[in-house]
């Protein structure tokens, strides 16, 4: 069965979540485009969007409408061509409305997994809990077609393990989109040893159609993305523990967040990133990796205490940031959680000034991440920037250089262990999935 045929009937499980809803938008567009081809006019296309939460499905309906409209507006040049024969559709607005209507008619919202029974492709984007995932797969395997392909959005659980536990016989592949799937180009593709050749090639072709950057990762828990991110985060936390005598705990969190964002020219500081992902999600991924890799170093007391205190980060449905390590006002850090007092300490200018003085300034050549993002000469500028950083005799520079060394070491160890096929694959994940300006395996240090 080719991909066009598989796209007749598709299901997304966990469709109301952040990842599931984004995957839904991408697939709905592809299905609508196929449906518009004259040779497919008699075919019925169905995208089942399944979630256990009825209320969340209402939110999903609104999200799908808004996203399909946005997508149609962006693709209007192509859509005008697709609707060329429809003489009644003249203006862009007519064509956009028609496309959103056609795409919406493909959608079937449901809380019942039984509607997936005729699907040829099933995306799973439920919570990162292997017991629940296995249960869901077992149920799907009973009711669905025996030739259905499963694509899981897991970011840490080994694919071969899930496949074996659910008895899928090689019909499961890891297809790890990054958040939000509609915007982020990266998809990590993880084939288990027994993943069928047909599924592997279907996954490749689908990625091309979705205009995604596909990076292969070996089926080792955490894969490349979390394999790097978890260890990167643990390094920052270890540094906080080391620095808390000098800066107190909240000051040390501020320092490492600033070092990672400003000194390393990243889009956000490491603690802001952990908050963005969710501290509970971070903990959960650590646990999965610890279990499957049998590596006890993948554990952290600070993370456990934060989760115990129910300080979890994550995002509100409107995309705004929930408080975690940091407190947010208008999505900007405004305070730091004091683990002992169990309250947020405000980040005041005076307080910042005092700490900034101790770590020293950024190099003179410093340009924030946003300023370099579209700069065609960013590699050259980063080279000069890091050269300057290395020559500085300040605590900030020392912490930054150590951090660079650590991230390179993490990246190289992923290649050594075979998780990534090459340095380039590691760098591609960090630059595409995490929006870094440079990969961790670089010549800057």
């Amino acid at each position: 069965m080719n991909l066009d045929e598989r796209l007749f009937n598709v299901t997304v499980i966990g469709a109301a979540g952040k990842m599931g809803s984004g995957i839904g938008v991408l697939i709905a567009q592809e299905m609508a485009k196929l449906k518009l081809k004259p040779e497919n006019k008699d075919n019925v296309y169905r995208l089942n969007l399944i979630d256990v939460n009825e209320q969340a499905l209402d939110g999903l309906r609104a999200y799908m409408s808004a996203q399909l409209l946005k997508a149609a507006e962006k693709s209007v040049v192509m859509l005008r061509d697709m609707y060329r024969e429809r003489q009644d559709l003249v203006e862009n607005a007519d064509i956009i409305d028609a496309f959103v209507g056609d795409a919406s008619r493909v959608l079937n919202f449901s809380t019942d997994t039984d509607v997936a029974r005729n699907s040829h492709l099933i995306f799973e984007a439920i919570s990162e809990n292997e017991k629940i995932k296995i249960k869901v797969y077992k149920k799907l395997n009973k009711i669905c077609r025996s030739d259905a392909f499963y694509l899981t959005n897991t970011s840490s659980i080994p694919i071969g393990y899930l496949d074996e536990m659910a008895g899928l016989g090689g019909r499961l592949i890891g297809y790890h989109f990054y958040n939000p799937p509609v915007v982020q180009r990266l998809v990590e593709v993880i084939a288990a040893q027994n993943t069928t050749r047909e599924l592997r090639s279907t996954a490749q072709e689908l990625g091309k159609r979705l205009h995604k950057k596909l990076v292969p990762a070996k089926d080792i828990s955490g894969f490349i993305g979390n394999g790097h991110f978890m260890r990167d985060g643990l390094h920052a936390i270890a540094e906080v523990v080391r620095l808390k005598g000098k800066f107190k705990y909240t000051g040390a969190v501020y320092v490492m967040n600033r070092i990672s964002q400003d000194f390393l020219v990243r889009p956000m500081g490491i603690f802001q990133l952990i908050d963005y992902v969710g501290i509970d999600v971070f903990q959960c991924i650590l646990k999965v990796m610890r279990t499957h890799l049998r590596d006890d170093s993948l554990k952290d007391r600070l993370i456990d205490r934060m989760v115990k205190d129910k300080v979890l980060g994550g995002q509100y449905p409107d995309g705004s940031q929930k408080d975690g390590f940091l407190k947010y006002e208008k999505n900007r850090p405004a305070g730091i959680y004091d683990i002992r007092k169990k309250e947020y300490v405000p980040i005041t200018d005076e307080w910042k000034k005092k700490i900034d003085k101790k770590i020293g300034p950024t190099p003179e050549r410093f340009v924030p991440w946003r300023g370099l993002l579209m700069d065609a000469k960013k590699e050259e500028k980063l080279g000069l920037y890091f050269d300057e950083l290395k020559k500085m005799d300040t605590l900030g520079a020392e912490l930054a250089v150590n951090y660079l060394k650590k991230t390179r070491e993490i990246g190289q160890s992923l290649v050594r262990q075979g998780v990534a096929g090459s340095d380039d694959d590691v760098n591609a994940v960090l630059t595409n999935g995490f929006f870094w300006l440079y990969g961790p395996i670089n010549e800057y240090i």
């Binding site: 507006e73 209007v76 040049v77 005008r80 003249v90 203006e91 862009n92 607005a93 956009i96």
Partner: protein, 415 residues
């Protein structure tokens, strides 16, 4: 003096900020001033420069398509809101697509020449950021032949019309000759806009303007042959200017030295339902320029400042040829060689033009007139250019549609 039966003057020019992407204060999701705000700001900006506004006899406003962008018609009705002097006086709106402002200038001058008024307030206005560009493209497509062209036209109808002109020029004169001229046009526009605090590109900080202008097109998302920097932006803005007879100036209390004289104009119309005869030239613009020069009794060599309708960079190059400054196919090299820069042989679009200042469509012709008047009367502040005593004329060329509706107007500095 040979063309007009009496002297006509222009004075009290004013225009608003051109608001849209690029301006720091612009945020697409935040509330913005409506069309009536712009009409009032520009109208009062002009009126407050005269001592006796009650002597203004008439109001004429140029606007392309507020009925769609703002769901507002009957724009003449806003004049009494601008100032009580207009209550129960003749006021009206004129329309000629992106040349609506140009037609408003002509209608104002004609009214004075017809002895029906001694002073006319001429306003141009457009507010276009009310919808996304993808929908605005539909509204602006009305400048072409809608029932004959829209269905088979490109999603971005007008950018594509001029992209086709760029493509035709590449083919005929060579990509390597034309493309650098287009990029240079963009660079000049931004450099000029940076001297004009009201320009939409005033805050532009790009270091490599020429390199940016050379950006490769993305036909899948936009058009072939041109990039987004080749296009004027979506803008909200208004401009106003007062036209007066000699007697009118006196009644308004305006000193002649603060005015410039209107010497001639040419208003030329091509058939909207026929394709342009030659994509590599602006035929209608060329006819308009020749006629305006002839009526003024001057030639291109007499101009000290020029305003052309650079809705797209390629239109700028072709307009330079149409205005007689470069031969056929030579516009790109003329621009690339720096002749249209502010210190070049013919300073062009000195406040940024449509690419740099912005293109609030119905306001553009009036805004061009204000800039020519300001340059000739020494009121162009930071973007003022120096005039030799042999260069006392300025000209604007305002275009509607794809070289369909054109107004050229010649002004002379008062000694």
């Amino acid at each position: 003096m040979s063309f007009f039966r009496k002297r006509v003057y222009a004075c009290a020019g004013f225009y608003t900020v051109s608001l849209g992407t690029g301006r720091k204060e612009f945020h697409p999701k935040k509330p913005r001033p409506g069309i009536e705000h712009y009409i009032k700001e520009a109208g009062l900006g002009a009126i407050e420069q005269v001592k006796n506004p009650e002597h203004i006899d008439e109001g004429i406003i140029g606007n392309f398509i507020a009925s769609r962008f703002c769901r507002q018609g009957n724009l003449g009705g806003f004049f009494p809101m601008v100032h009580p002097a207009f209550q129960y006086k003749p006021c009206m709106r004129v329309e000629g697509a992106c040349d609506s402002g140009g037609l408003a200038l002509v209608a104002s001058v004609k009214t004075i020449l017809a002895d029906l008024a001694d002073a006319v307030l001429c306003i141009g206005v457009e507010v276009q950021n009310t919808v996304k560009a993808v929908y605005g493209a539909d509204y602006l497509a009305a400048a072409g032949w809608f029932s004959g062209e829209r269905k088979n036209g490109h999603a971005y109808f007008f950018p594509d019309q001029f992209a086709q002109r760029a493509g035709a020029c590449f083919e005929k004169f060579g990509y390597d000759r034309v493309r650098p001229g287009m990029a240079q046009w963009y660079a000049n526009a931004i450099e000029n806009a940076r001297k004009n605090p009201k320009a939409q590109e005033y805050h532009n900080t790009t270091s490599d303007l020429y390199g940016t202008g050379m950006t490769q097109p993305s036909p899948k998302a936009f058009c072939e042959h041109i990039n987004v920097f080749d296009c004027s932006k979506v803008s909200d803005g208004a401009a106003a200017l007062i036209f007066a007879s000699e007697e009118g100036l006196e009644k308004l209390g305006v000193d002649r030295k603060d005015a410039v004289e209107v010497i001639s104009y040419a208003q030329v119309q091509d058939n909207l339902t026929t394709p342009p005869p030659d994509l590599t030239k602006l035929t209608t613009c060329e006819i308009a320029a020749k006629r305006a020069y002839e009526r003024a009794g001057i030639g291109p060599e007499d101009l000290g400042v020029l305003e052309v309708h650079d809705c797209f960079t390629v239109a700028g190059l072709l307009a330079i040829e149409a205005a007689g400054f470069a031969g056929y196919g030579e516009g790109a090299a003329f621009v690339k060689d720096g002749h249209t820069k502010r210190d070049g042989s013919i300073p062009t679009n000195t406040s940024g033009g449509l690419i740099g200042y912005g293109h609030p469509t119905g306001a553009t012709g009036v805004r061009q007139a204000v800039d020519v008047v300001h340059q000739l009367s020494g009121m162009a502040s930071d973007y003022q250019i120096a005039f030799g005593s042999d260069r006392v004329y300025g000209m604007l060329s305002s275009m509607g549609g794809n070289d369909k509706t054109v107004v050229d107007m010649v002004f002379r500095k008062i000694d």
